[in-house]
């Protein structure tokens, strides 16, 4: 008897839940209608190609089967085996270099961008003459399209005529001879510095917006308590900027792991091979999928990278969990 009742209770609870959901949807019908076009667009532009991409990674999709596209022979996990374990696959030669470069590149770009972005945000947050002009000038690198950044710096890094060696060697005499920047281990610098140059303004402006949201009273109160400026930064500014830093850190990590344009364009305007110290995961995968018409293995490699990035997101989420809660 008791059992019967409780079952009834459950059912009615369920019904209640569904009807509430329907009610909620009805109540917000207009809002849903407004969101719908964007939702459909996202579905078509992002979600469907993504599912296709995942499916492609299980197909033997090369230059001979390309015209069958999604009807190409299904080979299960073979592409993943090729990417991860097959020593003779072209993707594997140079993959470790690309992985190492990407890790160094993404980490150093992120750290440098945050540090420099923070310093410049703090600087332009102070009141001084020509502040508006300074802010505008600091923002300009961000306006330059990334492939143009790649091409421009490609010229600037040239060994004999590039402006960088001219400054370092001819004018400042910091280095004894002109080094090659676009070949050998120096290449890492040659790709990190332009990326930092271009990415900093965005972070700066995000942090600046955050800084302006911090109420003045906090600092005033701290001053009365006799806090030094370092203490104020450590105990007021930094904690209050944490959510912004968190989001930007994630955005930066994802962007720079998937970085392509600057590196691809810097070496012979897209023609050259970036070299053992300049090749990134994306340039490597691009060369080994689109370059040699191995779309199946290329898709598998991208999925592998995606899983790596997802796990980075997981770690990030654990670290910054607290900062993401918006208090209501």
């Amino acid at each position: 008897m008791k059992v019967e009742i409780s079952r009834e209770k459950v059912v009615s609870k369920k019904n209640k839940k569904t009807s509430r959901l329907i009610f909620e949807i009805r109540k917000n019908r207009f809002a849903y209608a407004l969101v719908l076009p964007a939702f459909i667009a996202m579905l078509i532009i992002h979600f469907i190609p993504m599912v296709q991409g995942i499916y492609m990674s299980f197909l033997k999709l090369n230059q001979f089967t390309l015209n069958q596209f999604l009807k190409a022979p299904f080979v299960g996990l073979q592409n993943y085996y090729t990417v991860l374990f097959d020593k003779s696959s072209t993707l594997r030669s140079g993959f470790m270099d690309a992985l190492r470069n990407t890790i160094i590149y993404a980490l150093s770009v992120n750290i440098l961008v945050l540090v420099i972005g923070m310093i410049s945000a703090l600087l332009v947050n102070r009141k001084f003459k020509f502040r508006g002009l300074a802010r505008t000038l600091l923002l300009t690198p961000w306006v330059v399209p990334s492939y143009v950044v790649g091409m421009l710096w490609g010229f600037m890094w040239q060994q004999d005529t590039g402006i960088i060696n001219r400054i370092l060697v001819d004018w400042l005499h910091i280095l004894p001879d002109k080094p090659f920047w676009l070949s050998g281990p120096n290449t890492l610098w040659a790709i990190i510095i332009p990326t930092v140059w271009r990415s900093t303004p965005f972070i700066m402006i995000m942090l600046l917006a955050g800084l302006q949201n911090i109420p003045e009273d906090y600092y005033e109160a701290a001053e009365i308590d006799g806090a030094s400026s370092v203490q104020k930064f450590r105990h007021i500014t930094l904690p209050l900027l944490r959510p912004i830093i968190a989001v930007n850190l994630l955005h930066g990590m994802i962007t720079h792991i998937y970085s392509f344009n600057i590196v691809a364009m810097m070496f012979g305007h897209g023609a050259g091979f970036p070299g053992k110290w300049g090749d990134l995961l994306m340039t490597n995968i691009n060369r080994n999928s689109f370059g040699i018409w191995q779309m199946g293995t290329g898709a598998a490699a991208t999925i592998v990278v995606m899983i790596i990035v997802l796990s980075i997101v997981g770690i990030w989420y654990r670290v910054f969990r607290e900062d993401l809660v918006v208090e209501e």
Partner: protein, 460 residues
């Protein structure tokens, strides 16, 4: 909690967004049922027909130049409208492939010579063998252009040679005179060429010291091309006879690579130029930095154009052209360039053939050649005074009999980027960025490149 979930979802979306972009292929469904219309009926030919043609930016104003050249054709065939689309070389690869797979292809397309076998192997191109008579038969074309119209081992022709990109040696006459080099004889063989470079190195012309040879190294479209005549000249080749194995690491090929790259080690080739691209090297040759460079027929046009634009700084009278030096195993001249092909999906086969027939006529070959600077593909065109009487282009005519193209196999085009990677690493070795130059390391890099390329040939 809800907010947390939302933020996590947002984060995931960001990743998917990027990942989605990086591999999104044209998501069109496959409906490439071949609708070959060889049997297009006679009466249809007078109906208005629109031919979609894809070309690469071959000349200064690609679309206008192309339309100017085909003007007589359009007048003769008022029922045919030609709609050209210029596709960039960088994205052409993807677009040609996508067209092959999606079924939404143009009627006629330009294809790089090295792409024909690959695209034909996708079963995307119409067999043009039955129409060759319309173009004057195979013997109307330079022999070295023909292998690139087939898949090696078959005699079906999937493309028609359109123009030729061939390379020769450009030298400064004034520098040769001062250095005591006789361009007629001293550039003839590898050894005499090297001796000549030694004499030319550091020669002062107009108060400017010249480097003997300037060549782009790794950051360029031409990385593999620029090695080709050295590898062939030493008796090497790129692919084994059974077309299954890369032979870029064979002792002969290694000899060729070594001879060429060590010109830089010996100081005869400019080291800083090795990170520049072809266009920059040509500009520096124009500015008097180098005594010699290897370049294509188009560079003759650049020099002549500069003479019109800026007569005071023109070097047009100071430049001569010599044939590619003869290696220990013969003289082999790089032959690339472009062909014309017809997609299987076309509904206007007859009109497409007509257009190609016109484009391979002597008149159109010369007119177009004048605009893009590359060399014609038909024998007849080489008799035209534009080539025959030109001091620079006539050398290209003379060396055309030594022309040689890469093996026309489906795996070649994909493997080229892998060979380029390996040869780029060879240049790194020469530039000493990973420690002092060591020929052994060149060998190791060639082995690695051969392994990569072989994997592609065998997968195919």
């Amino acid at each position: 909690m809800k907010k947390r979930v939302i933020s996590l979802l947002l984060a995931c979306l960001m990743i998917f967004a990027v990942a989605g972009c990086s591999k999104s292929q044209s998501g069109k469904d496959n409906d490439s049922t071949p609708t070959v219309s060889k049997e297009t009926e006679e009466k249809e030919s007078k109906e208005p027909v629109t031919l979609n043609v894809w070309i690469m930016p071959n000349s200064g104003e690609p679309e206008k130049d192309f339309m100017d050249v085909i003007q007589p054709f359009l007048e003769e065939n008022p029922n045919i409208t030609v709609v050209p689309t210029v596709i960039d070389w960088g994205s052409a690869w993807t677009k040609v492939t996508t067209a092959a797979t999606s079924g939404e292809a143009p009627d006629v397309t330009q294809l790089g010579t090295t792409w024909v076998a690959a695209v034909a192997s996708m079963d995307a191109l119409a067999d043009l063998t039955p129409y060759y008579d319309e173009f004057g038969g195979a013997e109307a074309f330079l022999p070295a252009t023909l292998p690139t119209t087939v898949i090696e081992g078959s005699d079906q022709r999937f493309a028609v040679p359109w123009f030729v990109d061939s390379r020769a040696l450009y030298y400064r006459k004034d520098a040769c005179e001062i250095a005591g080099v006789n361009p007629e004889t001293d550039f003839a063989t590898w050894d005499s060429f090297k001796e000549a470079l030694k004499k030319l190195n550091g020669v002062e012309v107009d108060g400017k010291k010249m480097v003997a040879l300037g060549m782009p190294g790794k950051n360029d479209w031409n990385v593999v091309h620029n090695f080709s005549w050295w590898i062939w000249g030493a008796g090497g080749d790129f692919v084994s006879d059974d077309l299954k194995t890369s032979t870029i690491n064979s002792p002969e090929a290694f000899e060729g690579v070594k001879f060429y790259t060590e010109l830089a080690i010996e100081g005869l080739m400019s080291m800083p130029s090795l990170e520049k691209n072809s266009a920059e090297i040509e500009a520096l040759f124009n500015a008097g930095e180098f005594a010699t460079i290897f370049s294509g027929g188009y560079f003759a046009k650049t020099i002549k154009d500069n003479a019109v634009k800026d007569p005071e700084n023109s070097i047009v009278d100071k430049v001569g052209v010599a044939m590619i030096p003869e290696g220990p195993k013969g003289r082999h001249v790089f032959f690339g360039g472009s062909t014309l092909a017809v997609y299987k999906t076309t509904k206007h086969m007859d009109e497409a053939v007509k257009l190609i027939q016109f484009l391979t006529s002597k008149e159109a070959q010369i007119e177009y050649s004048k605009r893009h600077g590359n060399l014609p593909a038909t024998k007849e065109a080489y008799e035209d005074p534009y080539i025959d009487q030109d001091p620079m282009l006539s050398v290209f005519k003379e060396q055309a009999k030594y022309g040689r193209a890469y093996p026309s196999i489906p795996g070649w085009a994909p493997s080229e980027s892998l060979l380029q990677k390996g040869l780029s690493n060879v240049w790194d070795n020469v530039m000493g960025v990973n420690g002092p130059y060591d020929p052994e390391r060149t060998k190791i890099e060639l082995d690695a490149a051969a392994a990569d390329a072989t994997a592609v040939y065998q997968a195919n």
